[in-house]
């Protein structure tokens, strides 16, 4: 709680956090004020923004605001899913490798390096295009998560292996802790702030990756995301026709969300040092 209060004294954090909370509130609470409906045609294709439909309609005549709210929810969902998977996988593998050392370390490091040299986006494209039928939002999130943990694992491994030789680990050992207890109680807390920052970053990457993959037409079939909105706009040549409301709002939403997460990440750095916690 104290950390959070200290964070609130940092202007950059307030901006980032405020923006991010706003996007979540929009995604969660907007349906309360606004009739969100993405299955009924409310008018002609590409209607201009009006009082009834604040941002006009899309190429099928669906309400744009409803689509955006829906898309934002999907993007946040996919971002968090990918972020959690990537962070948890990377942290666990990294800590285990760093603390154990020896053969286990060598094997995990080798696998990590393998994943680092494979460009995640290429894998994403390959897997997505081979899955014609069941390409759901959750699956996309899973794929993004599974292809982007490698850098986290590498950084966490380095930190864990330097923590390993610290005296408090030696003391924990003579206090009778076994490997699991030492990793969870005596290594993880030292990495927690870093891991949380990585999680924020991974979430932002997840949102961006989903948007990119959807935009080139390999997005989820089961729902609308901000990326698929852009994809539709592109396919129907909204850009050339000057139909700005088909792509601008979605682009801005993605930018704002990712920007907010990046700002949160950078502003946390100083405050997360426990020595400054007094």
């Amino acid at each position: 709680m104290k950390i959070f209060l200290n964070l609130l004294k940092t202007p950059a954090f307030c901006i980032g956090f405020g923006l991010f909370v706003a996007t979540i509130l929009v995604a969660a609470l907007f349906p309360l004020f606004y009739e969100v409906d993405i299955s009924t045609r409310v008018g002609l294709p590409y209607m201009h923004p009006s009082r009834d439909h604040w941002l006009g309609t899309d190429h099928l005549g669906l309400d744009m605001v409803s689509l955006l709210v829906h898309g934002l929810r999907a993007s946040l969902y996919v971002g968090f899913l990918a972020g959690i998977i990537a962070t948890v996988t990377g942290t666990l593998l990294g800590m285990y490798a760093g603390f154990k050392g020896g053969l286990i370390d060598d094997i995990i490091t080798m696998i990590t390096n393998l994943f680092i040299v494979i460009p995640p986006f290429v894998v994403l494209v390959l897997i997505s295009s081979s899955l014609k039928e069941g390409r759901s939002l959750a699956l996309i999130g899973l794929i993004i998560g599974c292809t982007s943990w490698s850098w986290t694992a590498r950084a966490v491994r380095a930190q864990a292996s330097s923590l390993k030789s610290r005296d408090h680990i030696a003391l924990a050992r003579v206090n009778g802790y076994r490997t699991f207890g030492i990793v969870v109680l005596h290594i993880l807390p030292y990495l927690l702030s870093y891991v949380f920052m990585v999680f924020i970053l991974q979430t932002a990457t997840g949102i961006l990756s989903e948007a990119s993959i959807s935009m080139i037409g390999l997005g989820p079939y089961d729902t609308i995301s901000l990326g698929t909105i852009l994809n539709q706009a592109m396919r129907n040549e909204a850009l050339g026709d000057g139909v700005w409301w088909a792509f601008m709002p979605a682009t801005i939403l993605i930018t704002v969300t990712v920007f907010a997460l990046y700002v949160i990440n950078t502003s946390m750095e100083g405050v997360f040092n426990p020595r400054l916690r007094k």
Partner: protein, 323 residues
């Protein structure tokens, strides 16, 4: 004219949340050329902050509150850290830090580290000429120039690393050297050899004036001509080594001396008495004597009366009741 002067120096740190920590409150002293001045005190008493102040090096969160530092009559306050590094450090004031491991870049050879030091002060100096000068200098101060200069810091022993740090920081014949616990991380034998080297440099005239900071009073007894004892950001007793070590008058100095141990006949029966308690929190305003809480001879008014420095038995003492 004194070669080095600190005049009523106040320094403070700003915490992240803009609280001021007054690490140094009103330190004044002057040094003549050729003098070795010792500063003793526990960790956290402001010694190391004072060192930064004496170099005029203010890197946030450390800020000068007020006061002056003069080298040969010229103020070194109010400069940017960059200006200080270029124009003060090395030539006017050189600093010998505690941990030689942290101050030597492990990826470069000693000769490159030393050459960088010269090159940063002499624009366009020829590299091979610099190496030649380094070889001469290292040989002159009794180091095996060829082996040491071509070694990486990790290949040297702790004592040798510290000697290299000393050799490098005094390359430009500084007017003033500040040694901040230069031997605290070393064992007794290495400590002695490093101290010998420092005095060898003094004898050879590489530098002549030095501030030596340590928490070991017995060491200061052999190193310094004059000693200041520092407590909670202030000098509490300043006098000659004889006065401070053998005839301390401030209760804190007396307590420090009482806590010392030594392996000499008859000393095993003498029970050293440690000083209980902790120094006051410098972030809060302090009323009265700063040592009052831990002072074994404190009187009722000590906690309320600010103590001024006054002359007792030929030295300066910050205690109204010292005799």
């Amino acid at each position: 004219m004194p070669i080095f002067e600190v005049d009523n120096l106040h320094l403070h740190y700003l915490t992240r949340f803009k609280d001021r920590i007054h690490a140094v409150s009103g330190v004044s002293f002057a040094m003549e050329k050729g003098e070795v001045f010792g500063i003793a005190g526990e960790s956290g008493c402001g010694k190391s902050t004072l060192v930064n102040g004496c170099m005029g090096l203010f890197i946030p969160p450390l800020y000068p509150t007020s006061g002056e530092v003069r080298v040969a009559g010229e103020s070194i306050m109010g400069r940017t850290p960059d200006d200080v590094r270029r124009n003060v450090l090395g030539r006017k004031v050189a600093m010998i830090p505690q941990g030689a491991f942290n101050s030597l870049n492990p990826t470069r050879k000693i000769k490159d580290l030393a050459a960088d030091m010269i090159a940063s002060h002499e624009n366009g100096a020829n590299r091979s000429e610099i190496y030649e000068r380094l070889r001469e200098r290292f040989a002159r101060i009794g180091m095996q120039a060829d082996t040491v200069l071509n070694a990486f810091p990790i290949e040297l022993t702790a004592g040798m690393r510290q000697r290299c740090v000393i050799a490098i920081s005094t390359l430009l014949d500084p007017q003033m050297v500040i040694a901040d616990e230069p031997t605290s991380a070393l064992d007794v034998t290495t400590q002695k050899s490093v101290i010998r080297m420092i005095f060898d440099l003094l004898d050879k005239g590489i530098f002549s004036t030095m501030i030596f900071i340590t928490h070991e009073l017995p060491l200061l007894r052999h190193v310094a001509g004059r000693i200041a004892v520092m407590y909670a950001g202030q000098f509490v007793e300043v006098g000659t080594t004889e006065q401070v070590v053998f005839d301390p008058r401030h209760p804190y100095t007396q307590a420090l001396m009482g806590a010392m141990l030594s392996a000499e006949p008859g000393q095993k029966q003498k029970k050293p008495v440690a000083i209980e308690g902790a120094p006051p929190n410098l972030a809060l305003p302090i009323h009265g004597c700063r040592f009052a809480e831990r002072c074994p001879v404190a009187r009722a008014d000590c906690v309320s009366t600010e103590q001024e420095i006054r002359t007792v038995a030929g030295r300066e003492v910050r205690c109204a009741y010292a005799e």
